[in-house]
Symmetry: C2
DNA sequence: TGCATAAAGTCCGATATCGAACTATATAGT
DNA sequence: ACTATATAGTTCGATATCGGACTTTATGCA
């Protein structure tokens, strides 16, 4: 009966999947060699929110399994973009800190993406972003809460 | 200077990435054993749009590399959900056709997802979907056109 | 017609992702 | 304090994804 509604949600998620695909491809084209969106996203998150967070908190922020976050962080650490220290509050845990190189890498990446973003925002004005974003955020929170 | 705009787009794509993650996880939880969203999405596309399309057309529809589509289709074919026949118009090419099992699989999957979607649409009404969707579609088309 | 270039699909190698099982530490209940 | 259970993180094995190279067939141009 609410087959229309089902179809509507499928269409939404389909569109989200394709957009994600396109955005990842676009962004990764401007990142150096082995760096992926997953790496950049974590660095960006650490700058925007704050560093010193634990891997598990980061995994939850991006909604990826913790094994995936372990792998991503090990790549960042090997590249010298983050460093980890024991969590003083919890012996099982670690905290992830940005290095200077990590901050620089993030800045450089943003600068490299600048022209593309400028181009994009010429065709897709900021007010359309701000029109769509609250809906997406709301939906994300609902899905997030369901995942219990 | 338009650093705000850059940040805004990053936020949008970040939200899209997380939503994609959540949606894939939610959907795959209801698919049988080895079946993934990639498989379901292709079946759904073949039903909604039409079957008989070539792998390359499908790859473009989902914005994935053609090697990925080859792999996904081989999984579907091995499972007996699609079959391929030579393209009568082009000797290099094949056409992908749904089997009865493929149509049934897609129906069953949708039925299995029904309760979740119903649940979701109770919390996130259809008009919010229809409010957000045109923006996403427009952005997708812009990104799509850029990729030349 | 013949030849150069492009396009469709596959194969291969590298690696990102992820679930399951494991280790070490914390927490809760008695 | 002691034991049972839960949690943080890693390791391991399987596989999805993807870029690059290759094969085969089309197409464009002389």
């Amino acid at each position: 009966m609410p087959d229309d509604r089902t179809a509507l949600f499928f269409e939404l998620f389909n569109e989200i999947g394709i957009l994600n695909q396109l955005a990842v491809t676009l962004f990764e084209a401007h990142l150096p060699d082995g760096m992926l969106i997953s790496h950049f996203s974590v660095l960006n998150h650490l700058v925007r929110v704050s560093d010193g967070q634990t891997p598990l908190v980061l995994a939850r922020a991006f909604q990826v399994p913790k094994t995936t976050m372990t792998h991503t962080l090990s790549g960042l650490e090997k590249a010298g973009l983050v460093e980890t220290r024991p969590n003083p509050k919890d012996g099982r845990s670690k905290c992830v800190w940005l290095t200077e190189a990590g901050r620089r890498f993030r800045s450089d990446a943003i600068a490299a993406l600048g022209p593309d973003v400028a181009d994009l925002s010429a065709q897709f004005p900021a007010d359309r972003v701000t029109a769509a974003l609250p809906h997406l955020t709301a939906l994300r929170k609902i899905l997030d809460a369901r995942r219990d």
